[in-house]
Symmetry: C2
Subunit: 205 residues, 2 copies
């Protein structure tokens, strides 16, 4: 993202430098992430995002468009660490892919700094169809298709999603619903038990 | 549950037969399930439940107590089909348990009649900590502990939850987020690919 200011359009009211300075877009994006994390997609509002960024609501719309586009931009930032997963698959080699991907994904959820934004996205996507669509498109295009491209198995697309399903289910039960003994189990033990299932989905038997 | 009316307490105002008749508890429970399904745990209200049942809010509290207790009663009814899972495990035998449990669980989600109440519970549990606690306690005591009791493997509790995680993740990606190709894949194909992972969690390698 460059910070080059867009040329001023005819008909838009003049704004102060503070509002439209080079940092405005970044401030709006940060405020949007906070707003969606705090209130979820349903209850988040462009007005709330504008207030958080200290700008006029029209400027939020000018930079990002309607609420689902702002959500997409916010999810892209919050989900950025998870988007490293295809690189992990590429770097792992066939024998290690289950172990490395399981360890990578659960580490993201183990650390509250990366967990909280992911949790906020999942909550929004489960609660709201529009948020689910935005999330699905990102996960498909930036994650699952890329991982499937690296796999040399029949039904690579389906298999990569079943591996993802195993990991998503573990995060749901361990970090969201917090079912015991899974919620308190040692991370290494969980990885050791989950990795073979992920390995078999991704690499075949 | 018997329909024997509770003895009238001193100090409570007299009510009409319509309000307190033998069907009142059942009407309240049905209204509660509809209210939680429509609005989620957060936004559901005792007032809304009372209105749906055609009774005074005090009667809702009299029968069920505070909101989380009403939610627990509603979840118990909506989740009843899933609570057959331990019986499926018992009936399956060691060789067939992955196949039978996977098929049983995904069939519940395939049918909109059983899917919609389950989806409403999951949405409430993901969005709200109190709802998650109610759901967790039910899943632990009525589902996971009973399945673990039937398994003759080390770490049976943890392993039964990892099997559940595989199934929960598939339902999340297939029925909630609707990621392709998983969302449109033939059910038999999905069961065939998922069952071995569930089998290995439950029965060991």
């Amino acid at each position: 993202m460059t910070a080059t200011p867009a040329p001023r359009r005819r008909g838009r009211p003049a704004r102060t430098d503070t509002e439209e300075g080079p940092g405005a877009r970044e401030r709006i994006l940060a405020a949007a992430r906070a707003e969606f994390a705090r209130h979820g997609y349903d209850k988040a509002s462009i007005r709330g995002i504008a207030k958080g960024a200290g700008v006029d609501p029209a400027l939020v719309h000018h930079y990002f468009g309607p609420k689902e586009k702002i959500f997409a931009a916010a999810v892209e930032v919050d989900f950025a660490p998870a988007l490293e997963a295809p690189a992990v698959v590429v770097a792992s080699g066939r024998e290690q892919v289950g172990q490395r991907l399981t360890s990578f994904f659960l580490q993201l959820w183990e650390d509250p700094v990366s967990r909280e934004p992911l949790l906020a996205i999942v909550r929004s996507a489960v609660a709201n169809e529009t948020a689910a669509t935005v999330f699905r498109d990102l996960v498909s295009s930036r994650l699952m298709l890329r991982i499937a491209d690296e796999l040399d198995v029949p039904e690579a697309g389906l298999r990569s999603e079943l591996a993802a399903a195993q990991l998503v289910g573990v995060t749901m039960l361990r970090y969201v619903i917090k079912v015991e003994p899974l919620a308190s189990a040692d991370l290494d033990q969980v990885v050791a038990l989950v990795a073979p299932a992920v390995q078999r989905h991704l690499a075949g038997d």
